[in-house]
């Protein structure tokens, strides 16, 4: 577990129980929760006031208990591009993930199932990745997408799918190589092949990774 920097976090979660729990967890690992709020309006206000390193928010919030949290996050990202946002959702849903990734250029966003906070280390890793401008998508969303056929991804080999799924989870080439027990060069080859098949022009490496993930989600 890496604890390499302290993040200033704005936390929005309507359940008091979970809010307290998350504050405890984040502070225990050295992050600073600059504001912990319980509804979407307070969320917007807090982000404007504190300019946090990352916004961690629930999808469903008062007053309407629909997707106010997500709406507020998307709104904020439109106003301040590059604001990292990690959204916790109680469901796996492509529509939410796609909307979130469409805000800005898709970097510095994460969409995780709420249950993942129980896997403390992975959760904290994801939080840091997003704060560093990475893109993290819950493995469950990825799993669902891989079930689908007849889309741009149909051309990918099973191995390439695996690699793409790992990219979508915000993993680096090195991490992917370790996970699949192959060399870094092999991973690089897979990734260029994926980019070619998804018709992504050679450009800035990270940006292309994000686009691949987006293609993955929009399919």
């Amino acid at each position: 577990m890496r604890v390499d920097r302290t993040l200033r976090v704005v936390l929005a979660e309507d359940s008091v129980l979970l809010r307290e729990g998350l504050v405890g967890l984040l502070e225990r690992f050295g992050h600073e929760v600059v504001a912990a709020v319980g509804d979407a309006d307070a969320l917007t206000t807090a982000v404007r006031a504190h300019t946090p390193d990352i916004l961690l928010t629930d999808v469903r919030m008062p007053p309407g208990f629909q997707d106010e949290g997500l709406r507020a996050a998307v709104e904020l990202r439109a106003q301040r591009p590059g604001l990292p946002v990690l959204v916790l959702s109680q469901y796996v849903q492509r529509a939410y993930a796609a909307e979130l990734l469409d805000s800005g250029d898709g970097s510095g966003v994460g969409y995780l199932l709420k249950d993942r906070v129980g896997q403390v280390e992975e959760f904290l890793d994801a939080l840091r990745d997003v704060a560093d401008g990475g893109t993290v998508v819950d493995p469950e969303v990825v799993r669902q997408l891989l079930r689908r056929r007849r889309d741009p991804l149909a051309a990918l080999t099973p191995r390439e799918r695996e690699v793409l799924a790992l990219i979508a989870q915000g993993k680096s080439n090195g991490a992917i190589a370790r996970e699949l027990v192959v060399s870094d060069a092999a991973v690089g080859k897979h990734i260029s092949s994926i980019f070619a098949k998804l018709d992504l022009p050679p450009a800035d490496e990270t940006h292309r990774r994000v686009l691949a993930v987006l293609a993955f989600l929009r399919s």
Partner: protein, 433 residues
Amino acid sequence: MRPTNVWQALAARGFLRSGWPWRSAGYLLTGIPLGIAVLVGLLAALVTGGVLSLVLIGLPLLALTALGGLPVALVERRRLRLVDDAPAADPHRAPAEPGLRAWARLRFTEQATWRELGYTVLFALVLWPLDALLVAVLLGAPLTMAAAPALMATVGHGEEVKILKTWTLTSYPAAWAIAVLGLVLFGVGVYALTVAAGARAALTRLLIAPVDPGLGERVTQLARSRVRLVDAFEAERRRIERDLHDGAQQRLVALSMALGLARLDAPPGPLADQLTKAHEQAQAALDEIRELIHGIHPQVLADYGLEAAVADAADRSPVPVDVTADLPGRLPQPVESAAYFVVCEALANIAKHSGAERAEVRMGHRDGQLTMEISDDGTGGADARDGTGLTGLGDRVSVLDGRLSLSSPVGGPTVLAVEIPVEIPCEWTERCA
């Protein structure tokens, strides 16, 4: 097809040979003595009541006269059977409690009672004289003409006879000519009489045997209550979903988080293993409750609408599903809800029973209807009746005036088609967007 009333009989072949002309004539003829009796009865009652009202005893008698329509209408409804096989329903309600007072109170407040009284007066003053006139003109006159030669031979002593007080005949050839004309007119008269009887019966039915007066109202009430039931059911689903989400689910997430932290702190050993097990259990419980909540009321449907929710259902299906949708945006909530659950049920059935390799969901909107087709390339032979849950869905769809049909020949393909009108009458739903 045997004719069941005079109108059908008129159009049927062999009308003149059938019993219908007789029945029509019988209907009109029996009306005459009955009408006279009713007239006499009414007059007697009014006069007696009027005279006796000076000594007060007449007032209840007059009140009773107001109920005179009841027996008359009873007989008239019976008589309708002469020209119409369709039953004429009694429009009166049964009193809620026994006893003469309850009965009288109900009868005096019923619309039907006063309609019947009105009919009785009309019958006594207008209808029976009209019946008599029709029978005389349409049957009597032609028959008299047809009898001209006979009359000539008997009453006229072979020299001179007056027919219908207009023609004076002085020779047999003229008498025979009139007789032939009379027979022709008789044929025409039979048709005219039947039409008259039909019209007369229709008037009677309109006044004293209206087609179940409250039926339309009751159907509307039933339809509304069905819609209300479905709405209540939906609201209840949302409430359960909220409660589960705000309660059990949050607690489980907190529990999982606490266990996750505890695992980080625990030194390796049996305790850490126990914690790991507990943590896995908590995660499994979370997975289950998440699926349960989603099944009860998918949030994505409320947030993004039918298209996104169906795409999501397709994502979850173990059988690969292609979704094509061309919808104009958000639809009324009850429509989205019913349509979504139909798709879910259909996809679940496909996964369970069909053995299909692929399935397809097509959704579109045309002519004010949401149309959906859910098809698969499985073995077919599906039956909506054998407990597939489609029956309940059919009910849900029909509440919205929609239709659900299943075609599943053995060997496939199976196609489930759903049509739901999107303009739901506002009077039925309290929610009109």
